[in-house]
Symmetry: C2
Subunit: 330 residues, 2 copies
């Protein structure tokens, strides 16, 4: 039997994120009899951190990027549903303890972003293998130079590919990589045994780094991942390797990466994240040789609001029926 | 039992293609006691058409891009092994009849190029979905504009993808696409029933073109495929669709494609082939809006010579043991 529920309770869902009329209607219809309210100070995007807002304190469910103080000050709160995959703003021991003691769960929306991130990572990997930026640069010069591009074109097939930071994105990326016949290896702090690829422990990475053709960094920001790819580790990359970062900029010693790119030892670096973001115009990463940048767009999807809405609706349904919540992190 | 073979016969394999010392040794060791000879006039690449060369006439096996007259003038010939996937130079009724009447098979090396072509096509498809050229253009301007790129970022998941010209490349591409959960549809003149995706007949394409998010053209050059994508057909593409060509430039009305790109109706065209090749510097395709060009590099692979050598060795083995030949077209 599931936990006892209160079907007659009407929940107030308070969104700190602005929603299109279409999304608002989708949510309102799906959660009836519960009620959706958009904050009068709602932020423009799913990533806009909300300022403190006393209106939030009446909510049973907070959706978006609510201010941590509001979360702690809302007495009726039963669920915090974050509108992003990352949740650094809420990731402190004190905050965790406070929510846990009240039995209030906090869920991310990582399920909305796993698939775009995995497809983006594969786009960057194939782009490197098939020399797309090099070809597009030739196009600007109106130069049809087949041998120049073919000379460096490779397949993912047979390559050794290292997925660093094994979670839902890496799991999906491993699925996408399966038909290629590559040698895909995952790296994780603690191996759980339910991973879909061969795994090694985080501290063993230095042994396999010199064998990897492509290294995909998916590490989140935290004290333990800060500069995980430090100078010594980056220097273990094999000559001609490709380094991809769709995790967080802080996890890499960017100065060391730039030195490595300048030396010509790497075939390329593909970065969707940097430190700081936005990357200032004068930053040397913009023009480092064979460095290719997408501006934190790995999680992007045109249908993002609809998927965030469906994710919220599903977790409200699970909350009221006592089922396990999706992407619960506290 | 296989056909009777003559183990004491020594075959002379004449290559019109220049080979590295490593490749030459690989072949020579693998075919012993048969003998490999490289033409004194050997062409620089696997695609260089050989001029007429009387030295070829003693060969039992011709490898490379032999002159059609030499093929017809070689009395001991038992196999022609072409060093490319395309074989337009040998694709006439008269030539086919001549070879057939002598029982001389002609094989392409398409097996060497299927996988790179399929991976290249997927690289272009993901590049379009994830807005990579747009991001790289922002990088040149040192502009970190996340919303500009995210706004148009999509997934292949749920898209309708049309593979036009179903052969070994499309079969491989369909395998690579499987984990994405896209709606993949193949188009072919005659459906055989052994295809790995849902198929429609070539003449039915106009019905489904307006529903396709991405159209991948893999048609070879021939009288029947010339301007298969004419103006009327291109205009059936839905607004925002992506058109990819890794087949042959002649199969598309390029003027109509440029008009369509100029009108902004398409999200993009990704072309690995053009007419003519090399594309002259003054050609309007180079600068058509949202047109992205790779210079006939879809089949490129760094390990190309080794794979061509292994393909030749395998077909010589099959020839001498009476087994069916790989990629036989005549």
């Amino acid at each position: 039997m599931s936990q006892p529920t209160c079907p007659n309770d009407t929940l107030l869902i308070h969104s700190t994120m602005a929603l299109s009329d279409e999304t608002r209607e989708l949510i309102a219809n799906a959660i009836r009899p519960h009620v959706l309210r958009i904050s009068s100070r709602a932020g423009a995007t799913n990533l806009t951190p909300a300022d403190a807002d006393p209106d939030a304190h009446a909510a049973h469910v907070l959706f978006g990027q609510p201010h941590p103080d509001d979360i702690l000050a809302s007495p009726k709160l039963r669920l915090v549903q974050i509108s992003s995959a990352g949740y650094t703003r809420y990731d402190s021991d004190a905050f965790r303890r406070a929510l846990r003691s009240r039995g209030v769960p906090l869920c991310t929306a990582s399920g909305v972003y796993d698939d775009p991130c995995a497809q983006h990572a594969l786009a960057l990997m194939l782009s490197a293998a098939r020399q797309l930026p090099q070809a597009f640069t030739l196009q600007v010069r109106r130069t049809w130079d087949t041998p120049a591009v073919r000379r460096h074109s490779v397949l993912l097939t047979g390559q050794t590919i290292l997925l660093v930071g094994y979670g839902a994105i890496a799991r999906r990326l491993a699925e996408l990589l399966k038909p290629f016949g590559a040698n895909v290896l995952g790296v994780r702090r603690e191996i759980r045994g339910d991973e879909n690829i061969q795994m090694i422990r985080s501290h063993e990475i230095d042994r396999v780094l010199p064998t990897a053709d492509q290294v995909v960094n998916m590490l989140p920001a935290s004290d333990s991942t800060r500069r995980y790819f430090d100078a010594a580790r980056l220097e273990r990359l094999k000559p001609g390797a490709v380094f991809i970062n769709i995790g967080r900029g802080d996890t890499v010693d960017q100065d060391a990466l730039i030195r490595l790119l300048n030396s010509g030892r790497l075939a390329g670096a593909y970065l969707d994240v940097a430190s700081p973001e936005p990357l200032p115009a004068e930053h040397p990463l913009w023009t480092a040789p064979n460095c290719f940048i997408t501006p934190h767009t790995a999680g992007g999807r045109q249908d993002e609001q609809r998927h965030l809405a469906e994710h919220l609706v599903e977790n409200v349904r699970r909350l009221t029926s006592g089922e396990p919540l999706l992407n619960r992190v506290i």
